[in-house]
């Protein structure tokens, strides 16, 4: 990835992340669905990891988490830590498996949301926050994952659209494309 492409991606990502965070706390968190709120910020981090790789995913997760912690006066570093790990793991998924299925955003969104909700709850418990441990919390987590899974597909398209043109070229995909277009490696072209 060239320097120009990197800065273009960073600029787009920064602007889009800023918009998503303010949209999350200004609109999405005001609209409860099944008694819970969707969390598009964790979806954003997961999808950036899936599109841009582990390093960009982790950096994006850290920045988005820090912005949320700062804006909402929460424990600084908590959301950053959880989101960094989500961004990194989704990026590794892309680098190791490169999933291309149509349901990939749904599964990644569900997984990312589950990790965010469970990870955040565990961290809060470890920090000794006096909060209810109950069926209600479990219900909130399960419904949170379901709602995020519903929102995942539109969020995937919006993220893809916002970052389109600045996304890094995947080496695996490039290799695969070349093998079928040059003819050299396709078994069909061999005599």
């Amino acid at each position: 990835m060239t320097g120009g492409a990197s800065s273009s991606l960073a600029l787009r990502l920064g602007a889009f992340a800023l918009f998503v965070v303010f949209f999350q706390i200004g609109v999405v968190s005001e609209v409860p669905v099944f008694g819970v709120n969707a969390d598009v910020s964790s979806l954003l981090v997961a999808f950036v990891g899936l599109m841009c790789g582990s390093t960009v995913g982790a950096a994006c997760g850290f920045a988005v988490g820090l912005l949320i912690d700062l804006t909402l006066l929460q424990t600084l570093g908590l959301t950053s830590l959880v989101f960094t790990l989500i961004g990194f793991w989704c990026g590794r998924l892309r680098e190791l498996r490169d999933p291309q299925g149509a349901l990939t955003p749904l599964l990644v969104g569900a997984g990312g949301s589950a990790v965010a909700l469970v990870g955040y709850s565990l961290m809060e418990f470890m920090l000794g926050v006096d909060a209810p441990v109950s069926f209600e919390l479990l219900r909130e987590i399960v419904f949170g994952v379901i709602v995020n899974t519903i929102v995942a597909l539109p969020m995937w398209f919006v993220t893809r659209r916002a970052l389109e043109g600045a996304l890094p070229d995947d080496p695996r995909r490039r290799r695969r494309r070349r093998s079928y277009t040059t003819g050299g490696l396709s078994p069909l072209t061999k005599p």
Binding site: F22, F23, Q24, I25, G26, V27, V28, S29, E30, V31, P32, G35, V36, N37, D39, S54, T55, A58, A59, G61, F62, G65, L66, D69, L70, T71, L72, L73, Q74, T75, L76, G77, L78, S80, L81, T84, L85, F88, Y120, S121, E124, L127, G128, V129, D130, A131, P132, V133, S134, F135, E136, L137, E140, G144
Partner: protein, 314 residues
Amino acid sequence: MYDKTVRRRRAVLALLVVLSLLLLTAYFGEAPNGRLHSVQRDFLTVVSPIQDGANKALKPVRDLFGWFGNTLHAKSELAQSLKQTEKLRRELVADQAEKRSYRELISMFHLDQLGVDDYHPVTATVVYKDPNIWYSTVNIDKGESDGVRVNDPVINAEGLIGKVAAVVGDGAQVDLITDSSMGVSARIGTSSSTGLLQPKVGDPGDLELQYIPSTAPANVGEYVVTSGTVSSEESLYPPGLLIGQITSESEESGFKTVNVHPLANLHNLDIVQVLTSGAGSRPEQLSRLAASLPVGQSSSAGSGEQLASTQVGG
């Protein structure tokens, strides 16, 4: 080349994780007026105008989403409201007769020294709501420059909403009554016995009124209000503010625990009022006292209210 990429990837991850842990440790360990807390408040001061602008710009979108939800609930709410109106009308007639004698009693026992009249309501708009299930807080667009102080009670047309937890120049954070850090001295409408109202463990949307004597009457549907300052037990909240309605009750060890559903729709707050108090007034002195109490590990100054509830009688 591959090794270099792997090394860089691992280094970035390690750096970000370590940075997060350092922030977490430093923030959690420092006092509420520490450096990181100050940075956070300064950041809020900077983004407050942006939040305000974004809130206004995104309001139509929020209203659109809200409209769908509200329409779905409107029908069931209408039937419920009609029933409630009928009930309230009957209660109003009875209450009007009691009102005169109540006023006389209050002035006789000097219990009205911390009434709502001692406060200066500041109308504010909710600009953000914390989406996290672990916190029940909202941010409002009025702050220190409008006279808002930490621990000021916050209400809306439906009743008590919460209290100010942190304040900056043009904004403030409000802990809702369902936040785990909250505790309000309250009583059942028809009873004189007071208890401590706290969020219900296991159901963050509901409240529990504890330490009510088992002999005190508590009927489902009755209203729960702030008790205000009663004899030597002082409170941050003026008396008589509506909080919620009783949904059920249980009894244990000579005390009654009453489940209370908040009257205010805390999921959909728009306009609220902060009950500010003038410098040197009794409410202001109480707020200062509550804020100066030793706080626990919670980041917000709000935990002082909980202590105030038990120590000052809040």
